[in-house]
Symmetry: D2
Subunit: 353 residues, 4 copies
């Protein structure tokens, strides 16, 4: 069995990896680090694992990790990741990084959105860990960079439209709505319950960092055409979940036939277990809703044509911590290890939630 380590087990991303990997039958979780909680049982910090795991948090010593693991997830903040990952790779470990540090192939947008990078040379060899877009590269990757949660939602909503040249690539609006776990496990004034509850808070209407990776990935799908996203993020009254609503205009003002758009989505996501195109859904939940995928690795997508102002509205709902983080990470791991891709990821969510 492949031996798996997690560096950075104290955040929600690391915690979500742990929750899922504890139930993965084909790997062995051999190492979890947390400087903050070193020596403590993991269930003291992830209380749902009480009675389920006897693992303890350890210090992230490279020799230990290299000795105990074959593949390592790094769930540390950006900037920190770029200091750790190269060393792990040098030790021959496969690495799946959940930070923003290796998502971009070019250094310029990294510099623009995040500042300087200490290992720009590694950007080229990293693979963007979105199985639906990069399955073949992930298979042989040494370093996978897991997509940002809100970026993932936007990309899933838009990919079939961009891929089929159906929309103006320079006039794309994404109105993103995200739950509170997306901003991490560390308490801040803005996450204080009485302040955060009942809030629909626009918090990053312009200049959101995920813009760069959305543009990169959609640009690739558009054969290198320039793609520009106007991304606006809202913190909504949820713990988990993202809904991305994308507003686009048909290329050259020529609205595609609805059946062609349907075909575009069907074709793009054919065989993809975890992306569900909700075309024939009816009733209250006929469109993607984060409520329906909370806790699961599913991303639900759909679209509507609006002839009134000649626009296409497309949507994606996903769980920021699963399909938006730990789920795509583990799906990538399964691909890298030649395992059945859906292993440990089949939980469908809870209804009602």
């Amino acid at each position: 069995m492949t031996r798996i380590g997690i560096i950075g087990g104290s955040g929600f991303a690391g915690g979500s990896l742990i929750q899922l990997l504890c139930f993965h039958p084909d790997i062995e979780l051999t190492f979890i680090s947390s400087r903050k909680w070193v020596g403590k049982f993991i269930h003291t910090q992830i209380p749902i694992l009480r009675g389920i795991s006897k693992l303890k948090f350890e210090l992230p010593k490279i020799e230990n990790i290299a000795e105990k693991c074959d593949l390592v997830f790094t769930a540390v903040p950006h900037k920190t990741a770029q200091e750790i990952v190269p060393n792990l790779v040098d030790h021959g470990l496969k690495v799946i990084d959940l930070s923003a540090d290796f998502r971009l192939r070019k250094i310029e947008p990294y510099n623009e959105y995040y500042g300087e990078h200490s290992h720009p040379e590694m950007l080229k060899e990293a693979v963007y860990g979105m199985p639906e877009l990069h399955r073949d590269e992930i298979k042989n990757a040494k370093l996978v960079a897991v997509p940002g949660c809100q970026a993932a939602s936007a990309i899933y909503a838009l990919a079939p439209l961009i891929k089929n040249n159906m929309i103006d690539p320079l006039k794309i609006i994404v109105d993103s709505k995200t739950g509170s776990s997306g901003s991490g496990a560390i308490a801040t004034e803005s996450s204080h319950h009485p302040i955060r509850a009942n809030s629909i808070r626009p918090y990053k209407l312009t200049g959101h960092r995920h813009t760069a990776e959305i543009e990169q990935e959609l640009g690739n799908l558009a054969n290198g055409t320039d793609v520009k996203i106007g991304f606006s993020a809202h913190a909504v009254n949820l713990t988990r979940g993202i809904l991305g609503t994308a507003y686009t205009f048909p290329l050259n003002d020529k609205m595609p036939e609805e059946r062609d758009i349907i075909k575009a989505y069907r074709t793009f996501y054919r065989g993809e277990k975890f992306v569900r195109f909700m075309r024939l859904a009816t009733g209250v939940f006929r469109l993607p809703d984060p409520k329906l995928i909370a806790g699961s690795n599913y991303a639900d997508v759909s679209f509507e044509i609006d002839t009134h102002i000649n626009r296409i509205v497309s949507l994606c709902a996903l769980d920021n911590l699963i399909k938006g983080t730990a789920g795509n990470a583990i799906q990538s791991m399964n691909i890298m290890l030649g395992l059945k891709e859906e292993t440990a990821l089949e939980f469908p969510g809870l209804y009602p939630y």
Copy 2:
């Protein structure tokens, strides 16, 4: 003291009127109808009024109403309103209608969005009850039609931009996020708590009925230029409140100076107590958030320029039942009666909420 009646006291709109008018020092609430609850004390249905009012629900008999009231609010569904309102007006009563039946000046959009109208001749004489846009007409109106809640939010966000020819009037996107009280007091499958809670549910991405009145009012501000709105509504995890996020593109792709946009908002809302332009706000709540206006008659507006794709993001948060319904209705009443405009409307909300 002017004697006020409310027809349709069993919905949330009627209920909100009652809550506010019970504390209005300059009017007398003399009549409240509800076919469903006739004979019951109002506090049996609006339990926060226990110990505060001894009024009872009555049957809506026109003679009674004409005798007991000088001004009447009609808080009944559209279609029903058009059957009742003309009769009230004929009896010499001033009427403030909270339905959609008299909001539009032209019959065509009414027909398109709502179907046939039994009294199209009255559309001309009704006044759109948004004090900031129609104060002078409201003063002398016999029939005021209170704006739709989501329409109000969109109009407040966009009015200064349209008025100053700053944006392309044919390419306006509104992403509207609304709480559960917006769909009324009657329980349905989709409003069942386990189904509705934790939901961010897109429910009317295209063809929303409020589109027509937004286009009418913004069109007026644009001196009759055609305005087209792509309006998309989401039901979010709140009881009260709306956040409208509007995405617009500068007219002729020429972004105005930021200071000119600021000036546009400042000028447009100068002297308007209840619309707050949040320009210098800082901290967690630097932008409009429904949390901050819940229960109050305030609408908070702001904007950001995004040079990345040359767009303007503008916003408005308001309480769908107050500034979005009963608050604008009472503000209009105060204007019609020559009272101080803010009477009974000064409650600032609750912090934290």
Copy 3:
């Protein structure tokens, strides 16, 4: 593979069974009935199963069921259950009933709380489906009656204390706090989202129906001593989850040693995977909280001694739809079928939730 049927798939209890059984590797789900939704795919009503199951709802015809199933869950209202279950048993089917109709061994309390019973003779042969209390009887049962959700919470909190004669059996208070899914899938005025949200609503302070089964089961544990419960239910602002807080007084006013109470809990739940005694928990979540078991089959229990007024406070948190309904039902099924008891029940919940 044992063939399993579900009668009454349209409620939340039936729906939770379906969600769990779709992932049970050792049984085959061959039949699901719903008069309301007959002919529809189950994912049209349980939307999280989109892409996961191709089953359709059928009419509950007894011949069909007898032919297609070896074991049947009945998830219909009480009174209805007693009309269906005997027929199923007569056809040689094993039955697990989720209603209240077969939980009580004596007819008198049934009559008192629920009214008349059409098949009182079957009360004797039914087994109360709480594995921790009746595992051996469940093994060979033909008819298992799944405990009520709030009853289960109270019993788990109190059983070790009663079993060890530590508390006054006639002066037991249970303050139960339950989420909105506990009152079922049918929308009512009281479950309307704007009415139900933000509510901490005492709804059944006295005379709650679950009283009878709690007293029966605790009475058995007390070797037939009379047990009296003062049960008071509150509807709290959750979708899923129950917290039962039990207040008891030491027998003969003699407080047991803390270590003896600890031992009582440890002994009682030794080897029980799904009941966790949280003795050494620390931090924010040192005591049972429904947040920590939502979606899982775990029940978390703990206690505190209060010498100030010489009382013992004991607690149990569980998910009303899983350990409180479908989880105990499936755990019972696994026992009846000789399967590994935890099969399909290992999901640990979500953190954060």
Copy 4:
């Protein structure tokens, strides 16, 4: 106009005072201190006051305060209060303190629950600021100590029963359920939104500090009889509001007639505008629910008799920040200043909330 100061404007208690006093027609708010926010406009921290007040936070210099104010509210933590209040009193200021420092008349329970007190001599002259119990003393008080929020809820629920010798004073259980604003404005790990949301968290099952003041006040009502409370606090999924459910046993096991209990409540709260005895309420909201008093100064009380185990369940719902803190404080101020007692306190809450 009496000039009012607030020391400690940065917490939720101080903030609630500010919100209410901004609308008090008969006083002038002349001074608000906050070391943390000194120099800032109050609306930068209490964002609902944007456009409503131009006041700024100042440093709490005693000379300034003495010069600018006639009456001061101290809304600082306990221990801090006892250092400040004596000095204010010495300067001739009337003081209303919102901390726990002057609520107890005896030093022993203070020492037990809070530790040492630097000015025990002042305990005697302070008045417990619950108008319904101490109106006459408040009238002439120099120092009023506002009740703790959960204590207030318990006292309102129990006072008529204790006063009329109806219950065993040594066997009183209070199950208290409180919203997140009760633990203050400072962000902590346990108040982090993803951790706190969806929680029904028992956090202080025994040894809660409010026990002492409940016992003191109920003891007074019982003519000095010893009263013992078993108080257990739960943090529930609300921002504002408390529900106290009290479980009591009739004195000498002799259940009073229901009509006598009704009379006890009616008599005790006769003429009290802000305590509503919900005897004839019907429908969904027939019992006290924090949802119905959020934002208001009302406390709703009721009771039920349970003959099954011979107990009385009594309840009180109130808003922890209003009737539980700032509302009682201002009601006390109105009494001290000879103003109409309900001034600035009439807001009835929001329905729906």
